[in-house]
Amino acid sequence: MKFKVNNNEVYASTGGRPFDKKKPLIIFVHGSGLTHMTWVLQTRYFAFHGYNALAIDLPGHGLSGGESLKSIEEMADWVAAVIDAVGHKEASLVGHSQGCLITVECTAKYPDKIKTLSLMGGAGAIPMNPQLLSLAENNDPKAVDLMMDWAHGPAGHFGGHPVPGLYHINTGTMLAKSRTIQNTLGVDFRACDNYKNGFEAAKKIKCPTLSILATDDKMCPVKEGKKLAALIDGSQVDIIDNCGHMMLLEEADRVLTVLKKFITTNYPPLSS
């Protein structure tokens, strides 16, 4: 579906079901330089099971208009504005990687709007490798290749996509190269590098929170994810073996199973 936030068109996948204001809202926030399509193996399930599942394209990403936002704080405000724009008062947030920084900040700043928070491959801070940052800001496709290398665990490098016939690394590469690299990945990496408020924000979070971490995650290692989770009251942690940072694709089934249990328990669907 398309709608407007701050006069710019926003695209959000609804997981293949029409948007229905009566159903509770889950917003899925993608990682650096990526798009709504990273969530296809989670959103469709929720969309067909009593929720409005909105996998958004951040401004300037995927099919959304406007320019990429330059700070995590702006992105957090924008996610809160999305909730208003689609006519809801509250939502459950799910973030991956940079999406975790955004959703942590948003949940801390708008506690009344956010009912549950699910973090995948999250950390309180994501400082960027200076070379990687420079490559992305200079529009060098090598930045995407490096990101795809580091984002997939050793097992993920061999493939084994849950959807038959799809190849992880090349699919991710195409998503990250679908818009101008410096305008998406470059801006996102700089925003991640600049963001320092993650640990303070985490302390303010009171809603049920889940962290899904992966043993082979090089970008947001387990210890960083645990550090963040430890600051959130009552936070649940689930750790996936033999999996890298792209757990939402590398171990899509496991992620969906854990996410389904957590969200349906804490933020029940509309009964049909």
Binding site: G16, Q131, L146, A155, G160, G165, M174, S178
Partner: protein, 443 residues
């Protein structure tokens, strides 16, 4: 040494490693080092909810081996990885892969622009069979790059061609034809069977969909039929209104828009969800496994195929019984320079040559070679020969043969990986027989 000074390099696996490993994780398959053959029709559901989720594309997994199979899935990922594609869909043969690609792209009333130099079966599909489905085609000679542009109509949904045409070895200027296709907002589909991803990666030159008959060099041992279509992931299906079946809600999956949901893998998702469901040209797991064995040695075999082919080109060019030789490695081949650009790792192992004495000499040659096999296949480890005008392209009339660039003196040679001297010695026997005075008639 400071880490800061180290140049970062991606450590994703390279071609030879992917040929052996891509698409398979032993720890998810009882530790089996070899890819298991999942000889099964169907797969247990955890519960009703799980079944519904699989049918509705809410989660990945297998339902029924017509749609997908774990062994076949390894092959699909492996070929996608080697091609640099986002996704792949394996089929029972190369022809079924072409048919599935066309039926995923087109509907009645649509039009395709097609290279005229194709395998005879493919020509008949485009010329005679697709019109029965209301899909019309305009044929253009592969070297007539501007001709592809001129042939595009309002209802044209794509351009199709073999990168190196069968059997005449004419090469499409893929980068230029891709530009023409993309300016018109349509995809370029390339049959790259002759090249395999070892010799050419068409996505790097603008192709959007790559098709292989895996039966040939990819499997390589003449044992198994298989085909595949591979998606590049760059084509934007939503850029215009030409592809409503990709972009509009699809009734067959509760209003799913393949382009919106699956983006760089939308074509493959639709080909599987609709095409395999409705047409069903699935690949058997045994044949998928056989093809995987072939792919494990692809680069090793292709090097030998190409070096033997170049030796055979030299031999044939200097032979008194040979009127002409067509192979992209020949300096005066019209596409020699283009071939260097598109086929940097070797020009392939298909040679066309004309035998002095025309059709009759050709028949004698083929009837008398003993090592080279006379059969309707290419890309075997063994050397193969055929006389196209009386074999693979025999269903064409004279005018179509001429338009496809075929002559009656043409021999098609697929060079194998035997010892090169043995192949040459065998050809000497064939040429001697072809030169012998023939009885004019039995009367």
């Amino acid at each position: 040494m400071s880490d800061k000074k180290k140049e970062l390099k991606p450590n994703t696996y390279k071609f030879d490693t992917l040929s052996l490993h891509a698409g398979y994780q032993p720890h998810k398959n009882a530790g089996s080092r070899q890819v298991p053959i999942y000889q099964t029709t169907s797969y247990l559901f955890d519960d009703v909810d799980h079944a519904a989720a699989l049918f509705n594309l809410e989660r990945g997994g297998h339902i029924y081996s017509r749609i997908s199979n774990p062994t076949v899935g390894v092959l699909e990922e492996r070929v996608a990885s080697l091609e640099g594609g986002t996704a792949a869909l394996a089929t029972s043969s190369g022809m079924s892969a072409i048919f599935l690609a066309v039926m995923t792209l087109c509907e009645a009333g649509d039009h395709l622009v097609v290279s005229s130099q194709l395998y005879g079966g493919t020509v008949n599909l485009f010329r005679l069979t697709l019109p029965k489905f209301g899909i019309k085609c305009t044929f253009v000679k592969p070297r007539d790059t501007e001709g592809f542009k001129k042939a595009i109509q309002k209802n044209t949904k794509g351009i199709f061609g073999e990168l190196v045409g069968n059997p005449g070895n004419e090469i499409m200027n893929m980068p230029e034809i891709a530009k023409i296709a993309h300016e018109a907002g349509i995809p370029l589909m390339v049959d790259a069977t002759y090249q395999t991803p070892y010799l050419c990666k068409p996505f790097e030159h603008g192709a959007d969909i790559v098709i292989h008959s895996l039966t040939k060099w990819m499997a390589g041992h003449g044992s198994s039929m298989a085909g595949i279509l591979v998606e590049g992931g760059k084509f934007d299906w939503m850029q215009n209104d030409k592809f409503p079946t990709m972009t509009k809600p699809y009734e067959g999956y509760h209003g799913l828009s393949f382009a919106e949901e699956f983006g760089p893998t939308a074509f493959t998702m639709k080909a599987r969800a609709e095409g395999m469901r409705d047409f069903g040209p699935c690949l058997s797991p045994q044949n998928a496994w056989n093809v995987l064995q072939g792919i494990e040695t692809l680069s090793v075999r292709m090097k030998k195929h190409c070096s033997n082919a170049e030796e055979m080109v030299k031999y044939l060019m200097n032979h008194e019984s040979v009127a002409w030789v067509s192979h992209p490695s020949v300096p005066d081949h019209p596409d020699h320079e283009l071939a260097k650009k598109l086929l940097p790792n070797g020009r392939g192992s298909m040679i066309a040559f004309g035998i002095k004495g025309g059709k009759e000499a050709g028949v004698e040659f083929i009837n008398n070679v003993k090592l080279a096999s006379h059969l309707a296949n290419v890309g075997d480890t063994r050397t193969l020969v055929i006389h196209p005008a009386s074999g693979t392209h025999s269903q064409m009339d004279e005018a179509t043969l001429k338009f496809a660039g075929l002559s009656h003196d043409m021999i098609r040679l697929s060079v194998g990986i035997e010892d090169i001297e043995d192949i040459k010695n065998d050809f000497e026997v064939g040429f001697r027989a072809a030169r012998k005075p023939r009885l004019v008639s039995n009367q």
